[in-house]
Structure formats: structure tokens, C-alpha cells
């Protein structure tokens, strides 16, 4: 099995080379994306098959000669290979159509397949060197894609911040693996797993992993690069970064914390729960304040990562107390959400890309009314919005429902911290879900409904068939995963079994195709019955109305309170839509302030409203770090202009210093 995956990876490399060669020919775009789609499809199927097989390993004499490169495809890796390549398949298919509008394809085509390779490589790596190599490759290729459109100053800045954060994440993971390898010095995962670290060491490794994987995933307060970088890339790459790369970071966290570290200490679970809860709520609050469609989606990635980490934190908490079934339920919920988010976030980014192709705008304040010009895109986008807002019978609801079931499970947890964190995380999760619905009413309502706010939106045209087919496919998957959640849960059984030694009962044979995580008396949900039920009530209603009610219908001007209203500027905008929420939540979260300056009575001058808000995380966590790096870089800059003599002197001094340290150490 693993050999097939590695062959796929080699194929990606070859496609990347071809991409570099063909980049300037018109054949380049269809070839690179078409071939990537085929290879991704194969790899996805292999990943799916790996769920039912024993782990397969392979060591290749690559990298460092005396270590070799270890690869392993177990069930966890299989699941993530599936998710990665499902997203990769979608993005590639979408790219065939979307890539035609690319202004400089030679900046995208060589890196795109290599990015896919790196994503896969992280997942199948089974030693620290290979893992870190793949991790850095993933960072660098995605960085290249982020700055593909480097003409905008915003994009260059996004690339800069992203590179800094990627360096931080690589460094912390390097340290984490270094500590895990310990005195034994073996860098293969199998050896690390065999010798669990001491409690103190495990704590340090966990914190380092949270920084390393968390910053890649977008955990608050390490998220600030994400909403800058993800929207800057071409839309199908944005979909990959948001839908897939953040999942690879989640994979890294699970691999290290659940696979390598053994049973966690209670405070680490509390830490993850706290981070997850605050990330979920703050992420969606940030998202609500955006009026750039892609940036809004990127902030929602932060929110969903929070939801996933709530699930992971719950699983860790259950694990601390040896409640294996609870841990399995929570981990299943988190992994289900990984899968769901990969689906609907990709779908939404494809939709945003379609909007950008059709209108050239990402700013919602220049959009509107697209539902009448882009029927298919708007419908698919609506499905994505409903799914991410956790509305039944779509898939987003199921994973959040499972997370709630894990909270409700409440065994008699002895730790007081859990007694507080469980309900608080429940509240934060529900707050995030409700705010997400609000945010997607805004995203869909402002972008697709109402009247067009710009000439470009008035003349928007539906996008190409490849893009539409991809969106239709992903929307269908969202619906199917919501209606048949039992299939996904059963698919996750081997993963939780391998990691935790427990799994949820098999769901497929249950009557009514319902899912019952623990016991029927506790809770059950049947997406299919609910869907059929809603479909039945809907058709009954429609039939009854058409049978008994008047059929008369007339089109007329919109009700404008009696006065013609020719300007679309009188509609609610993205900013005005979010104003109540900004006022309710933003006052504390962003120090949002609104001051109205009224002219004195009798003065005919205009009244003015001043709005201000601050990103506290940026102000207090990022700005100082960026300043410190800049100052020290300027200071070190002088070292570039020394004479040979001084360089030699520096080397000599460094040697002496090192020797002295060594002497003093012993």
C-alpha cells in the first residue's frame, strides 16, 4: 500500500517538473491539473483502502545515509491521505477551469503538484527527518503559491508573515522531535513510541507541538498569518491551504500527542480545551467583521480548527481518566469534523473563486445579486454555507452534534478543571455555531442576494463547467455525509481503535440508518429519516398550497416605501449587517468603539460616525515579535560587511567560546 502512495508522490514530482517546463504553453494548465487530479484520485482510494488494512511500512535509502527515510501507512495516515487527496482532487479538477484565468501560470504550475506531494509526505512520514523535511517543503511550496501574485503589497506582506510563522512552526517541531528522540537518538516514530518520555519532558513536547502544529492550523493566538496568507493564493490553492493543509497540521498534533506521547497529563487536556474553545469563538467573531469574502472564509477556518481542537481536547480529557469510549467518541467527532471541514471549506473557496472569476471582486461591498446571474454557483455555495453553519441534514451538524454528545457523556470526572471546562467548552461551541450561522447569512446574503453593488456584479457570468462540476460534487458529498453519517463513523472505527484501543459501535446495521454513539436511550440521530421527513413535509405543503391556494402571481417593483430607490447603496452592507454583533461582542473582543459626531443644532454639516477596532492578538503578540526580529536583523546586518580578518577572528572566538562552555559544563 505504502509503495503505491510513494509512487503517487513520485508522480507529483514528475508533474511538477513538467509544470515548470510547460508553464508558458497553453497545455500546461490542463496537463498539470488534470494529471494531479488523476494521481490524487488514486492516492485517495489507496488512503481509503488503508483504513481496512494492517499498517504497511517502507524504508528507503534516501535522506541521511545511515538513517534512511521511513514511511508508514497506518489507519490514521490512511484517513488523512484520503482527506488530503480528496481535497487535492477537488482543487485540481477546479483548477483546470479556474487556472485558465491565471495571469502568470508559471508562478503556480511548478509548485502546485509539489505542494500536494509535500502534504502527502507529511502524512506518510514515519521518522522525524522525513517529517520535518516534508513539513518545510509544505511550508515553502505553499509560500511560493501565496506570493504567486506578488504585485499587491498585501500579498507580499502576507508572504512575509507566513514565512516567519512557518519558520517558527518548523523550529518548534524540530525541538519537539529532538526532545522525543532523547538520549536514544533514534528518530523513527516507532522508536519514539516505544520509549514514552517522562512527564516533564512530555509537557514541554506538548507545548512545542501546540505551537508548531497549532500555528500551522491557525490556533489563536498563532493564527494571524492565516487570514492573510490563505486568501492571497489562487482560490483552488486557498481551498487546499484552508481545507487540507490545516488538517495536516491537525494530523501532526494527533500523531505526536496521541501516538507518540502516550496518556497526557490533565492540564494539557485543559490547555487544549481552553485553546480550542477560545479559537472557535474568536475565529468566528473575526470572520464576522470581514468584508473580503476569502478572508472571511479563512477566519472561519480558524473557527473550525477550534471546533476540531475542542474535540481533541475532550478526547485527551477522557483519556486522562481512562474513559476509552468517551475518548473514542470525542476523537471520532474531531476527525469527522476534519473530513467535513475539508469538504465544505473547499466548496466555499471554490465558490469564492468563481465569484472572483466572474466579477473580479472579493470585496463583498462590491458584490450582490449574484444569485440571479450565477445560479449554480450560488446554489452550491448555499449548501456549503448551510453545512458550515451546522444546519441539519447536512454534514457539519453531525460532527458538532457528536462533539456535544461527547460533552454530554460526562463520566464522573475527578478533576475540577474538567468539571468547569466541559460546560464552558459546550457554551463556547454553541456560541461559535450560532455565530457561524450569522456569519454565513451575511456572506451569502451580501454576496449573492440583494441588488448588485457594482457594474461588475451586474454583468457577472456563470463560470466554466469544471468549476461547476467540482462544486456540485462537493455539495453532494456534504449532503451525503450528512444523510449517511454512519458510513463515515464506521470508517473511523479502525483509526480510533488503533490510537485509543476503543471505538464506537458499528452504525451501519442500525434501523432507520440512524447513528447512536452510545446508547439509543441517550441520543440518536438519523440524517436520512430527518431528510426524508423534511422532504415529506415540504412536498405535502407545496401540494396542499398548489391545490387549495390562489395561483395568481404578479411581478412588480420592490416595496420601497413609496419612493423610488434607484441606488443599491441603500441596501444593508457587510459592515452594517455585522454592526449589531460587532456592538454586542466586539466591545470586549476587539475594543470596538463607535463615536457619533452630531453637528450642533442648526448646523447643516453632515453627522459623522467613527468606528475603530483593534486586533488585540496582533497588537500584543505579533507586533512585539516582528519589531524584535526587525531590530535584531538590522543589528546583525553589520556582520555582512566585515573584512576576512574579522570573520576569521569571529570564528576563532566562537570556537573558544564553545570549548569554554564545554569545559564549564563538565
Amino acid at each position: 500500500m505504502i509503495a503505491v502512495v510513494l509512487l503517487c508522490l513520485a508522480a507529483f514530482l514528475v508533474i511538477g517538473v513538467f509544470g515548470a517546463v510547460l508553464a508558458r504553453s497553453p497545455l500546461g494548465t490542463p496537463f498539470v491539473y488534470g494529471a494531479s487530479a488523476v494521481v490524487s484520485a488514486i492516492a485517495a482510494i489507496v488512503g481509503l483502502m488503508a483504513l481496512a488494512r494492517a499498517p504497511s511500512t517502507l524504508t528507503l535509502p534516501l535522506a541521511l545515509p545511515w538513517i534512511g527515510a521511513h514511511f508508514r501507512l497506518d489507519t490514521l495516515a490512511g484517513f488523512f491521505v484520503f482527506v488530503v487527496n480528496l481535497g487535492g482532487f477537488g482543487a485540481s479538477l477546479y483548477g483546470i477551469g479556474y487556472g485558465r484565468h491565471e495571469k502568470a501560470p508559471w508562478r503556480v504550475l511548478p509548485f502546485y503538484p509539489v505542494f500536494l506531494l509535500a502534504l502527502n509526505l507529511v502524512v506518510v512520514a514515519a521518522d522525524a527527518f522525513t517529517f520535518l523535511f516534508a513539513w518545510e517543503l509544505m511550508s515553502l511550496t505553499s509560500w511560493a503559491l501565496v506570493v504567486a501574485d506578488h504585485h499587491g503589497a498585501d500579498n507580499r506582506r502576507a508572504g512575509y508573515v507566513y514565512l516567519l510563522m512557518a519558520a517558527l512552526s518548523g523550529m518548534t517541531l524540530l525541538l519537539a522531535f529532538g526532545l522525543l528522540a532523547g538520549a536514544g537518538g533514534s528518530y523513527s516514530f516507532a522508536a519514539m513510541r516505544a520509549v514514552p518520555p517522562s512527564t516533564g519532558l512530555a509537557a514541554v513536547v506538548l507545548v512545542l507541538t501546540l505551537i508548531g502544529a497549532g500555528s500551522k492550523a491557525g490556533l489563536i493566538p498563532l493564527h494571524a498569518w492565516l487570514p492573510l496568507a490563505h486568501p492571497a493564493a489562487p482560490s483552488h490553492v486557498s481551498a487546499l491551504m484552508s481545507g487540507v493543509m490545516t488538517k495536516v497540521a491537525v494530523y501532526a498534533f494527533i500523531r505526536i500527542v496521541f501516538y507518540l506521547l502516550g496518556v497526557p497529563s490533565w492540564w494539557s487536556a485543559v490547555l487544549v480545551l481552553a485553546l480550542g474553545g477560545s479559537t472557535a469563538v474568536l475565529g468566528v467573531l473575526y470572520a464576522l467583521m470581514q468584508h473580503d469574502l476569502k478572508r472571511l472564509l479563512a477566519y472561519h477556518t480558524v473557527e473550525n480548527i477550534g471546533i476540531i481542537f475542542i474535540g481533541l481536547g475532550l478526547a485527551m480529557a477522557f483519556r486522562v481518566d481512562g474513559a476509552a469510549v468517551g475518548a473514542a467518541l470525542a476523537l471520532t467527532a474531531a476527525l469527522f469534523h476534519v473530513f467535513n471541514h475539508a469538504l465544505f471549506k473547499s466548496l466555499l473557496f471554490y465558490g469564492a473563486g468563481a465569484v472572483q472569476t466572474a466579477t473580479g471582486a472579493r470585496d463583498m461591498e462590491h458584490l450582490g445579486g449574484l444569485i440571479r446571474r450565477m445560479r449554480f454557483t450560488s446554489f452550491a455555495f448555499l449548501i456549503g454555507c448551510a453545512a458550515i453553519s451546522a444546519l441539519p441534514p447536512l454534514n457539519g451538524f453531525v460532527s458538532e452534534w457528536l462533539t456535544f454528545q461527547a460533552i454530554l457523556l460526562r463520566p464522573n470526572l475527578p478533576q475540577w478543571a474538567f468539571k468547569v471546562m466541559f460546560p464552558v467548552d459546550g457554551a463556547l461551541l454553541s456560541l461559535a455555531a450560532a455565530l457561524a450561522a450569522a456569519c454565513f447569512v451575511k456572506a451569502f446574503g451580501i454576496t449573492f442576494l440583494g441588488r448588485p453593488r457594482s457594474p461588475a456584479a451586474t454583468e457577472a457570468r456563470e463560470v466554466d463547467g469544471f468549476s461547476l462540476a467540482t462544486m456540485a460534487g462537493f455539495a453532494t458529498l456534504c449532503l451525503l455525509a450528512g444523510i449517511f453519517p454512519g458510513v463515515v463513523i464506521d470508517g473511523l472505527v479502525p483509526v480510533t481503535q488503533a490510537l485509543l484501543g476503543a471505538h464506537l459501535p458499528s452504525q451501519i446495521g442500525l434501523p432507520w440508518i440512524s447513528i447512536i454513539p452510545v446508547a439509543a436511550a441517550r441520543s440518536s440521530y438519523s440524517g436520512l429519516v430527518l431528510f426524508a421527513f423534511i422532504a415529506a413535509t415540504t412536498s405535502l405543503t407545496v401540494v396542499a398550497i398548489h391545490r387549495f391556494a390562489s395561483h395568481a402571481i404578479r411581478r412588480g417593483p420592490a416595496w420601497d416605501c413609496g419612493f423610488p430607490d434607484p441606488s443599491p447603496a441603500t441596501q444593508y452592507t457587510a459592515a452594517s449587517f455585522a454592526q449589531p454583533i460587532r456592538r454586542v461582542y466586539g466591545a470586549t473582543a476587539f475594543l470596538a468603539r463607535e463615536v457619533v459626531h452630531m453637528p450642533p443644532p442648526g448646523d447643516m454639516g453632515p453627522a459623522r460616525i467613527e468606528k475603530s477596532s483593534r486586533d488585540l492578538v496582533w497588537d500584543f503578540a505579533y507586533a512585539p515579535v516582528v519589531r524584535a526580529i526587525n531590530v535584531s536583523a538590522t543589528a546583525l546586518n553589520r556582520l555582512q560587511f566585515l573584512t576576512i580578518r574579522r570573520y576569521l577572528g569571529l570564528v576563532f572566538l566562537a570556537l573558544v567560546g564553545l570549548l569554554l562552555t564545554l569545559v564549564l559544563w563538565q
Binding site: P423, A433, V441, S550, I553
Partner: protein, 318 residues
């Protein structure tokens, strides 16, 4: 046999909720009128209003999209489906396993999602205003509702509404602090969800105070009838849920004879009467809040729900 029984009850319930929903709205209006010492409209007036709307033409704005035209049916159907899952006179519902209380709330959330979108479809400022305020209120009411569910589910060891109802009817409940907290929170949420005073005024004509009404300003004829009926249905649903959870007296269990169903039916009607009287009285004795004071009220409900849950995490007996 048991399955057939449950399906029959389910069908009866579906018919019953639609049949009774306008009556409940009429009752509340009657109570409010009598407190104002008016004679008030007949309690059957909502039926007449619906009939009138169904007989009328639909005027669509020129730029109305398919979403605007389909939303009323879907909103009603979703609300109806949710109402079909809440025990009214019997807990023996065929589909109650299809969704627990969380799913019911989420279905209502889906209906609201559509209503807010439909309000924004035409592109008038009122629609946007209503949608924006509605989602702001929902962003607080929904978490509060979920915390209430969590507290209830922890007590009953189940999030299935029928199981919760059976548990609350059993002596195992005893006297609990969290039940009281949750009841208050539930009542506040129910007021907010149904756009009642003090959160919203169902009878307002002043555009500036509108929330729900502003979203449906563009609807006419049969579309409006669907939305009005859905609103009545939602009120009935919320009251039924409160009745089933906190006053589960007389609910017929599965396997009960026809006499038990009769008792369940009569006691359900009585509960509706009492709650209509209480709701009307409450609405007449309080003024509508400013929009930006509503978050304080709902935030209070959220905190009450959270407190109830916390207590249950600390001790199962509280």
C-alpha cells in the same frame, strides 16, 4: 403493532400541531385584548387571516430570486418537521429517534437561516435590517438554548426529548436548583425565538422597532400565509417543549391505551390554555426593550443555562 401505534400517533401529532397553532396565537391575542379591556378578535381569527392570505395574489419584486419563492415553503416545512418531533400529548412518536433536542433546535435554526436570507433577497434596507437583528438575537438565543439542552440532558442522561419528558415525570427528578434555572432560561429563549415582547413585537407597525416583521415585509399572499403559520407553529412548538419538559403531566407513554391518549390530549389542551394566558399576561405587563438591551437579557439566559450545567457537573443532585 407498537410501530403502527407510534406511526398513528405521529400522524395525529403532525395534524394536531398544524390545526392548533393558529388557535394558540388567537388565544394569546384574545388574552392580551381582554387585559386591555378590549373585546378583541375571535380566537379563530388567525384561521380567517390565513384563509384570506391563501386566496390572495402574490406580488413578487422584479428581482426576487428562486430563494425568495421557495423559502416560505421550506421555512414552514422545517418548522413543521421540528414540531412533529416534540411530544404534545404522547411521547410515543415514531420519528422521535430521528433527532434529539439538539437536532430540533438545529432544524429551527435552519428555518431561521432561510428566513434571514429571504429577507435579504430583494435588497431593501428593511430586509437587511431585520436579518441583521435576527441573527444577532439568534447568536445569543441559540447558545442559551443549547446550554439548556446540555443541562437537561445531563439530568436525564439523554438528549432525546421523549426520554427527558419521561425522566421529568418520574420521581427521580426531585427538587433541583438547575431545573429552576433552566426553566427561567428556557422561558426567556422561547420569548426571543418567537419574536415576542420584550424582544420583538409581533404586532408592530413601526419599522424601526421591527425584527421579524421587517424580514417579511416583502411577502404577500400564500407566501405570507406560510410564514405566518410557521411563526404560530414555532410558538406552539416552544410551548409544547416547555410543557413536555417541565410539566410532563398526562403525557401518554408508549403502549398506553386509548384512555391515556385521551387524558394526554385533554391535558395538552389545558396546558396550551394556561400558557396562552400566562404569555398574554406577561406581554401586557412589560414594554418592548431597545434592541441593544436584548443582549443583556439573552446573555442572562445563557449564563443561567451555563450555571445549571456547571451545577450538574459539580453534583448530579443539584
Amino acid at each position: 403493532m407498537a410501530v403502527i401505534d407510534a406511526i398513528l400517533v405521529q400522524v395525529a401529532q403532525m395534524a394536531l400541531v398544524v390545526a392548533l397553532a393558529p388557535l394558540l396565537t388567537g388565544l394569546v391575542r384574545k388574552v392580551k385584548a381582554r387585559i386591555a379591556r378590549r373585546r378583541g378578535a375571535s380566537i379563530f381569527q388567525p384561521y380567517r387571516d390565513l384563509r384570506r392570505l391563501l386566496g390572495k395574489e402574490v406580488v413578487l419584486a422584479e428581482n426576487a430570486s428562486w430563494l425568495f419563492r421557495t423559502a416560505p415553503y421550506l421555512i414552514f416545512a422545517l418548522t413543521w418537521a421540528a414540531a412533529g418531533l416534540v411530544p404534545t400529548f404522547s411521547t410515543n412518536l415514531a420519528f422521535s429517534g430521528a433527532g434529539d433536542l439538539i437536532a430540533i433546535v438545529a432544524i429551527l435554526g435552519a428555518a431561521r437561516f432561510l428566513l434571514a436570507l429571504a429577507g435579504m433577497d430583494i435588497g431593501t434596507s428593511f430586509g437587511g435590517l431585520g436579518a441583521s437583528r435576527e441573527v444577532m438575537i439568534a447568536s445569543l438565543a441559540e447558545p442559551a438554548m443549547l446550554m439548556i439542552i446540555v443541562a437537561l440532558a445531563l439530568m436525564a442522561q439523554s438528549s432525546q426529548l421523549s426520554t427527558i419528558a419521561i425522566f421529568m415525570a418520574s420521581p427521580a427528578v426531585g427538587l433541583r436548583v438547575s431545573v429552576a434555572l433552566v426553566l427561567i432560561a428556557f422561558a426567556i429563549v422561547a420569548l426571543a425565538e418567537n419574536a415576542r415582547i420584550p424582544v420583538d413585537n409581533p404586532a408592530t407597525h413601526l419599522e424601526l422597532t421591527m425584527v421579524h416583521e421587517a424580514m417579511v415585509l416583502e411577502y404577500s399572499g400564500r407566501h405570507l400565509a406560510m410564514i405566518e403559520l410557521a411563526a404560530s407553529l414555532k410558538l406552539l412548538l416552544m410551548i409544547s417543549a416547555i410543557a413536555a419538559i417541565f410539566f410532563p403531566i398526562g403525557l401518554a407513554a408508549s403502549g398506553a391505551g386509548s384512555a391515556a391518549y385521551g387524558i394526554g390530549f385533554v391535558s395538552y389542551l389545558l396546558k396550551l390554555l394556561v400558557s396562552a394566558a400566562l404569555l398574554g399576561t406577561f406581554e401586557m405587563s412589560i414594554a418592548k426593550m431597545r434592541v441593544f438591551r436584548v443582549p443583556n437579557l439573552l446573555g442572562g439566559a445563557l449564563m443561567l443555562g451555563l450555571l445549571g450545567t456547571l451545577l450538574l457537573f459539580i453534583s448530579r443532585g443539584l
